[in-house]
Amino acid sequence: MNRLLLNKIVLILSTVSAFIGIGFLFWILITLTYKGLAGVHFETFTKDLVEGGIRNLLVGQFTMALMATLVAVPLGVLAGIYLREYGHGSKFASVIRTLSDVMTSAPSIVIGVFVFAILVDPFGGYNGWAGIVALAIMMLPIIIGTTDNMLALVPKELREAGIALGGSKHKIILQIVLQAAKVGVTTGILLSFARIIGETAPLLFTSANNQFFTMDLTGQFPSLTVSIYNLATYPDEASRNLAWAASFILTAIVLFINLTGRYFTRNKH
């Protein structure tokens, strides 16, 4: 009797907890949609921040995130290959793996401050390149980790079979092992992209923000997230409405990328 009662209590408690968690999530999404949608107009996408739109911000944010991806993907995938295929079992590799795992949870503001010290301060001002580097640093450990883990799932017999056919180690890794892990690695890249596209702190003191449309990475660079941060603190109604609209659009983008990533993983299994 007692056990059954306990069972019921645990069931009720966990169900209520789940509803509280989900409740907050929906509250955020509903508020965001309600307040955000009101501020989204056609002009929001065609005008720059200086005229009350977010065109330059979207372009700027994506430019930096894509450039960061271009830097972080080759570095991260190669590092992951090193950890799993070449350094596996060595002391050095296990130290690197641990450091990379720690980096995954490094506070993003710390990375922002670090990049400020090496790429902003010495070069005399905020610039787009510094923002790109900060975002790439954020992506790196995630890509290293997923590549490492996905390669670990490839059975060792597949490597041996390639070697037994007369392949050299690097060819087998690039042409067979990486192919076998392709879906997982791609998903990792996508999810790390979703992670950085919504980051504010690494950009706050690196690329800062720009009200105007620009592609010049040597100067202050437009950013959607930094703009949301700024706009939300302005006293006027129009700015705050734009902040809501921008938040809504950003959330929609992140959600879309995440769902795409999950869809790929699900299709794999």
Partner: protein
Amino acid sequence: MANSELKKVMEVKDLFFTYPGAPEPTLKGNNLPIYENKITALIGPSGCGKSTLLRAMNRIHDLYPGLTYKGKIDLRNQETGKMENILDLKKENELINLRQRVGMIFQKPTPFPMSIYDNVAYGLKLQGIKNKGELDGLVEEALKGAAIWKETKDRLKDSAMGMSGGQQQRLCIARSVALKPEVLLFDEPTSALDPISTGAIEELISEIKKDITVAIVTHNMQQASRLSDFTTFMYLGDIIEFDETEKIFLNPSQKMTEDYITGRFG
């Protein structure tokens, strides 16, 4: 036993093999001849070293650092007819060349994540064959050689991952046969397959021995007796007995061999 008509393709001589970090060698002074165009079966209880010995014969062990060989594994040079010790090979391209001459089939089928055609063409491309027409011909020949052409000829562009386990294993054999190796090593090739697929693989192995010398590790006594011409019984890293299969199964000279094949231990 001294049969003068038989030509040795490979010969293991006083081979000791130690895994990285292991206090003792796993193979303790093995001697084993591999005769041309014959099937040699390696039997013995789990952990006796039969797979370890097989995997030494194309140096696939060398993928993992820190192991030690002592002794010799001779492989006959096709051109000069001389026996050459494969344990002397050091450079990566020498080992690549060795593995093209001594291929290997694994317990679980190992199709590459690419099309059926590309699976078979992969090893050929590694050998430097680029001509599309030549590749097409060799792929077809290999798939026919592995008795899988009929099932695959209309779906060469399909992924090999969609084939059944038995088909995948025959594809892997086709992939190895395509390289025209001198010796093909089978490491329990049917233990992951159903009886019908097993039958097809056994038939295929008997077929390819016309061109390729075969060494096969198996846990299945019937398979060893059905398939092989010679059998070696191993126990705890030692070769207890080597002889013609018929002799091993009907009249073994060692008590231990008899106990094992009659199922008294192992």
